[in-house]
């Protein structure tokens, strides 16, 4: 018996969110690093 493979197309978000979300997440990651730097500067007496 021949069974045809069921090919599932990949799930995707709407195009706008596909483009925007990774950019925002990268910026959030950078912002966290900046905040860590500022906090360290405060604790170490720089600010």
């Amino acid at each position: 018996m021949i069974q045809s493979p069921h090919h599932r197309p990949p799930r995707r978000y709407p195009p706008f969110w596909e483009r925007v979300i990774p950019i925002i997440l990268i910026l959030i990651g950078l912002a966290i690093l900046v905040l860590i730097g500022i906090s360290l500067a405060v604790v170490l007496g720089g600010l």
Partner: protein, 244 residues
């Protein structure tokens, strides 16, 4: 009555209070330590905003200042972050241990803040005016040094946790409403974190505006994350024809 120093912080407080009510109602219905801690954190947020508005409307009051510094400046980020810790940390024992440390640290912070010597004249120094509450009024050394530890802990957990959750959903391309909601929560938590940092550097106006934006984004993120989008918007399938 100045809008930025009186009305805006009262608005922040109001938004935070409504948000706290929504989260605590969810805790009553669905339980979850994260809901309880987020609700408590947003109550702290509301207390901080109220104290800021009170200062803008009625002037200096040492009790109001201490309440503002303890709840608004020192503890709010840490308690919100602890809620995220309960949500994301799988090992319950680790989350409980962190909670014990936070509770003890909060008690210590309260003891230091309520025992600190204050000088409101110091709030107007450098480029900063005395129109906003500022931790510079605390004279006793070592009190303000505690705050960055609480804030860093809370901000990394809350912002990092929300960004991590958003990334997980995005990677699997599922539950778009939760991806968007977590992005909004991360941005909302970043706003007052940067506002507090800028305020500490003496940049006027940053704190209250950032707190209002933060409260709105946090609430919007929570509502978005808990409200599914219409089904066709959640995920689109690439238009491919299955071969047979």
């Amino acid at each position: 009555m100045n809008f930025f120093t009186t009305v805006l912080p009262f608005l922040s407080s109001g938004v935070s209070l409504i948000f706290a009510g929504a989260v605590l109602r969810r805790f009553i219905r669905k339980r979850g330590a994260h809901h309880l801690l987020w609700g408590i954190g947003m109550l702290f947020y509301a207390i901080g905003g109220f104290c800021e508005g009170y200062y803008g409307a009625f002037g200096w009051n040492p009790l109001i200042f201490r309440l503002w510094y303890l709840f608004g400046a020192m503890l709010v980020a840490a308690w919100l972050g602890q809620g995220t810790a309960y949500l994301l940390i799988r090992k319950r024992g680790v989350a409980h241990a962190l909670m014990v440390i936070l509770a003890l640290g909060s008690l210590y912070g309260a003891w230091r803040v309520f025992g600190a010597e204050l000088n409101p004249a110091l709030m107007a120094s450098g480029s900063a005016s005395a129109s906003e509450l500022s931790g510079r009024a605390i004279v006793t050394p070592g009190v303000r040094t505690l705050t960055p530890f609480f804030n860093l802990y809370g901000t990394v957990l809350l912002v990092g946790g929300a960004a991590y959750s958003a990334w997980l959903f995005w990677r699997k391309r599922v539950l778009l409403h939760r991806t968007i909601g977590n992005v909004l929560i991360a941005l909302g938590a970043l706003s007052p974190a940067f506002g507090g940092a800028f305020s500490r550097m003496g940049i006027p106006g940053a704190l209250y505006i950032s707190e209002f934006i933060g409260a709105v984004l946090l609430f919007a993120g929570f509502l978005r994350a808990t409200t599914p989008l219409p089904q066709p918007v959640e995920a689109l399938r690439a238009s491919q024809t299955a071969t047979s």
